[in-house]
Symmetry: C2
Subunit: 232 residues, 2 copies
Amino acid sequence: MLTQTLNTQAINTQVRGKIAPAHPVSDQFGAITGHVGLVATEFSYRKDEEIYGEDEPAEYVYQVVSGAVRTYKLLSDGRRQIGAFHLPDDVFGLESGATHRLAAEAIIDTTVRLVKRRSLDQAAATNVQVAHKLWSMTAMDLRHAEEHMLLLGRKNAMERVATFLLEMDRRLAITGIMALPMCRRDIGDYLGLTLETVSRALSQLNDEGVLEFAGARQIVLRKRQHLRDLDI
Amino acid sequence: MLTQTLNTQAINTQVRGKIAPAHPVSDQFGAITGHVGLVATEFSYRKDEEIYGEDEPAEYVYQVVSGAVRTYKLLSDGRRQIGAFHLPDDVFGLESGATHRLAAEAIIDTTVRLVKRRSLDQAAATNVQVAHKLWSMTAMDLRHAEEHMLLLGRKNAMERVATFLLEMDRRLAITGIMALPMCRRDIGDYLGLTLETVSRALSQLNDEGVLEFAGARQIVLRKRQHLRDLDI
DNA sequence: CGTCCATTTGAGGTGGATCAACCCTAGTGG
DNA sequence: CCACTAGGGTTGATCCACCTCAAATGGACG
């Protein structure tokens, strides 16, 4: 596939350098590479650049170093469902089968660490702990997907936005402020809504004093319990 | 948890007998139990009986022998999202973590084969092929969940029903007729629709000659290509 | 300071939900 | 063997949450 070829060439020519495989054990990727001495490579993508396409061979496994990534599926007429947002330290692109089942794009300028899928397979074939780690990472993705099916199938718009805000608050609000990397359309395509409906829900929460804007993508949660009550 | 205790007692008292672990390799469960000499036990549930609850400890892994199973999540006000239907030979209840994240119920009278989760864990800890098989089974569940997120987030009612019919046709129409084990409400809770909307979509497909009813749950597909065109 | 998107807001439309009968049909009992 | 019943399924009428289309506003960046 053309895109895959392009991506691979890009990796070979633009690679910034090998990095040492020493990471804290709490780190998902380091837990694998550290154990088996795999070498990870860093690579960068610009905003909206494709990292891999749907149904492309799964040649690499990725970890976000900085930036943010969306993985998604498309219908033939362009309707898009974002399956997950990947933030710093998150692993994505891990497959048990031969191909990626969702495409991946950088939401903003993004740097990733990557290892060859074959290396991981070999490591897993000889090291049961690596194999178990790969399984548990896929199981975490499944857990998220199951929660998200409940949201997409049965929650109303306000409940979806509340769930989204609490998820992002948990994942990226180290400080009090939540700096969302993605636009309203991305949020809508993640939540199965239109961007206008997302905007209206956020405006209503702002009017109710549940949150405050410091810019459209800079949100401060003021009443987390109110959101939790919506996230039933 | 009370239910778990009851389930376990039921298994001990109502068990129908140990069965030999010899299954064809193509069989998901046999691929594991055959390799490592695990003993599987058979057990039966009546229509609508709970097999395990959400967040219960994952003590067993199950395979449908006959019948059908739904796995689902509930919101506190009773809204239900069915994550998957499990038909004969399907494995369900396989977890990497400690608990079941969806509840499971028999849709009709159902017999399952089950093995202790601890046995599988031990087998996986010593046998890399078993570990890989567990991973790939979880990855298959993830693949299904990702497809289903696209359906729930972005397809309209008719497209959802068409996708459902093609999935069931693939999975249970050995003969020309498709004998659905589940009611319209189950289908609706799987597709994120109401039972009335499911019924209307099926009636419309019947009017268009795309399918024929031989009873509400006995469906014959007449124009599969028409359904595939809807399943974009 | 101007341009270009992203976002917000408004107005109106609609697909699917809700509410309500009604109709099958499988199972039950006489 | 047939009448009765209950639960599942269908169909109709109406409603409304969210979508669509449109325009105004805001903010980032050269």
